[in-house]
Amino acid sequence: VAEADIISTVEFNHSGELLATGDKGGRVVIFQQEQENKIQSLSRGEYNVYSTFQSHEPEFDYLKSLEIEEKINKIRWLPQKNAAQFLLSTNDKTIKLWKISERDKRPEGYNLKEEDGRYRDPSTVTTLRVPVFRPMDLMVEASPRRIFANAHTYHINSISINSDYETYLSADDLRINLWHLEITDRSFNIVDIKPANMEELTEVITAAEFHPNSCNTFVYSSSKGTIRLCDMRASALCDRHSKLFEEPEDPSNRSFFSEIISSISDVKFSHSGRYMMTRDYLSVKIWDLNMENRPVETYQVHEYLRSKLCSLYENDCIFDKFECCWNGSDSVVMTGSYNNFFRMFDRNTKRDITLEASRENNKPRTVLKPRKVCASGKRKKDEISVDSLDFNKKILHTAWHPKENIIAVATTNNLYIFQDKVN
């Protein structure tokens, strides 16, 4: 697998018609859903490649002698305001606003130019005509409209667009900055957890997100397993949280790796704004914003890995950052695991399912078969034992269509799009 092809982020736009992926090579690939075939209505439209462009290039910071990776860490779509689409993409240091626009007509019939562009000798022009637009093959162009650079010393892990659709935040390990989408030369720092003495550093910011409805509220998660909710009305610098969400550690589970597995890798508000979901190494937790001392729901993603943490530390898998996502109605949450497995948890029925994203094991257009991992003891038929899981096949990025039951699941370098059966 070419390293540049490793998918590093997946995101549906607000309508679900477009699906963007970013990869380690700095490219963005956008898929577009075909218009529904109303006659057939056996399935929703398929997603086909719509646009591909190089968003970020590798850079070199000469001052620090550091290479800046071109890997796209996050993509966030802006809501559509006109014919064009806009998205923010970021690598470790620089955020870019891209405009994706279609061109399906071109002007023809110039007086001074030939069709191929060559200029005509004015003396040969005897009549005048008005140029007209004629249809052409669809061309999708991506152009960078804003570049937001030089605001982050540490590695950017999150971007989140505010519900005011004018501002957005970007978060690195120690700081969160607030930007205006129109202004690239200035950014406000709203959270700074860098200690005066770096020796006192105990935690870093791992993810941040704006509240979907309240434009003054955002949350950020930490490597210590806490989430802080901040209100920008309270003060300019939101170092002091308004709410602190933290679940006390279970001392019976203490191990060498307790700190690592409690680090939160992703935080996502529900669409309603009432809940938020966090992902740590072994579990998914749903928090009610009104209750800080513990989550309201906890789902074990792959508890069978708890006894394998040492090996996972050795092979670095314990540092994998899994993301999580809500479905459109906030009734189901989804996250990835190893062996190309991904998990869904139904909050209402309390049922969960493990599915596999793999070409070998699933024929197209067939229903995915549920999988089961056998933690220990006798392995039943069709079960997979923990030791035969492939830890190189990890699903870190998943996305759920905002309105329909269509999911996008990224394996290392492949994107799978699944939809539920339409009757």
Partner: protein
């Protein structure tokens, strides 16, 4: 939770990860290194507590018949054994119970155990730091060659036994050989009466000139404060460290008066900047070098030649050798305990090499 690796292997594995992160694309990842340092701390706590328990048991055995060496171990490593070694481990217990790990009950008693533990302290110090130090060796082809497993050549348990270096390139003693600045290089000999070589000693073993001066000496250099501690013939002799008057406190009445606060010997590797003070500044607390008062010997011989990277690496290592416990802020608070190790704890914290500073700088 059971771990397939023992604490020592975890430590070396963690340090390997930290070191290799320097060369990864995209620069040092602060988050990952922070997490690795937590594992390092946890493994080290376990390792130290186990070692302490073992040494205490040994000390109990020798206390009847053997020499009592008064220097508390907490000072021996001059902060290399961070507060967690003594007060923090004790203090940390209520807040951070780790049922799987042994409790360092011998901590306070270890101070009384003196040289054995001082030696042990040096040993203890050697282990994690040695693992840390290996990358810094100029001569090594594979700087990351760590020796996490028990010593390849077990040492005879005699005080005067010289432990030869299994990786001679790393550690040179004071006798004119070169060493990387900031390298912690114990010159191990057994100052432990009868105790077998601790597992870490082989890792830390160093040949070299220092041993030439004394037939049984272990010398440890604090990477961050550049104070050197030597354990010789079972006696600790150190230059008094300003921050370690407890060393003298522990002495069985033989020590010289505690050093003046603020004075300490500085070791000046050729290339490193020193924030304060003069290379010649020696604060000796008085008393004979062999007194039970802590003193620090000075390493005269240091040659600056080394690969360009090694000072960075050794800085990084010193940071971890002396300071990653600072990561846990609640432990910092705990170090204000009136125990023998208290001042060493403070020193360790004060001298914390800002591991993240190093990481950021990289």
């Amino acid at each position: 939770m059971e771990c397939a690796l023992d604490a020592q292997s975890l430590i070396s594995l963690s340090l390997r990860k930290i070191h290799s992160s320097r060369t990864q694309r995209g620069g040092i990842k602060l988050h990952k290194n922070l997490l690795v340092s937590y594992v390092l701390r946890n493994a080290r706590q376990l390792y130290l507590s186990e070692r302490y328990a073992e040494l205490y048991r040994r000390q109990q055995h020798y206390q009847e018949g053997g020499l009592l060496l008064g220097a508390p171990p907490g000072c021996a490593p001059a902060g290399e054994i961070p507060p967690e070694f003594s007060p923090l481990q004790l203090a940390a217990e209520p807040e951070d119970p780790e049922p799987g790990m042994q409790q360092p009950r011998s901590c306070g008693l270890g101070c009384a155990a003196g040289g054995a533990l001082g030696r042990g302290g040096g040993d203890l110090l050697e282990v994690p730091v040695c693992a840390a130090l290996l990358p810094g060796a100029p001569q090594e082809d594979e700087p990351l060659e760590l020796q996490p497993s028990p010593p390849q050549h077990p040492q005879p348990a005699t005080p005067s036994a010289l432990r030869r270096d299994s990786s001679p390139g790393f550690y040179r003693g004071g006798g004119g050989s070169s060493a990387s600045p900031g390298l912690l290089y114990p010159v191990p000999t057994s100052c432990d009466f009868g105790s077998p070589a601790p597992p870490g000693s082989a890792m830390s073993s160093a040949s070299g000139g220092a041993s030439a001066h004394c037939s049984s000496r272990t010398t440890v250099l604090d990477l961050d404060t550049h104070v050197v501690t030597t354990v010789e013939n079972g006696y600790l002799h150190q230059d008094c460290c300003s921050q370690c008057p407890c060393c003298c406190q522990g002495a069985a009445g033989l020590g010289a008066p505690p050093p003046t606060p603020g004075t300490k010997r500085k070791y000046y590797p050729g290339q490193e900047d020193e924030e304060d003070g003069d290379p010649g500044g020696v604060a000796v607390g008085g008393g004979s070098p062999f007194s039970l008062c802590s003193k620090r010997a000075r390493f005269e011989d240091f040659s600056p030649e080394q690969p360009p990277d090694s000072s960075n690496i050794s800085n990084l290592i010193s940071i971890f050798g002396s300071g990653f416990t600072g990561l846990v802020s609640r432990q910092q608070a705990d170090c204000e305990q009136p125990l023998n190790g208290q001042l060493c704890g403070k020193q360790a914290l004060a001298s914390l090499g800002a591991w993240t500073r190093a990481i950021v700088a990289f």
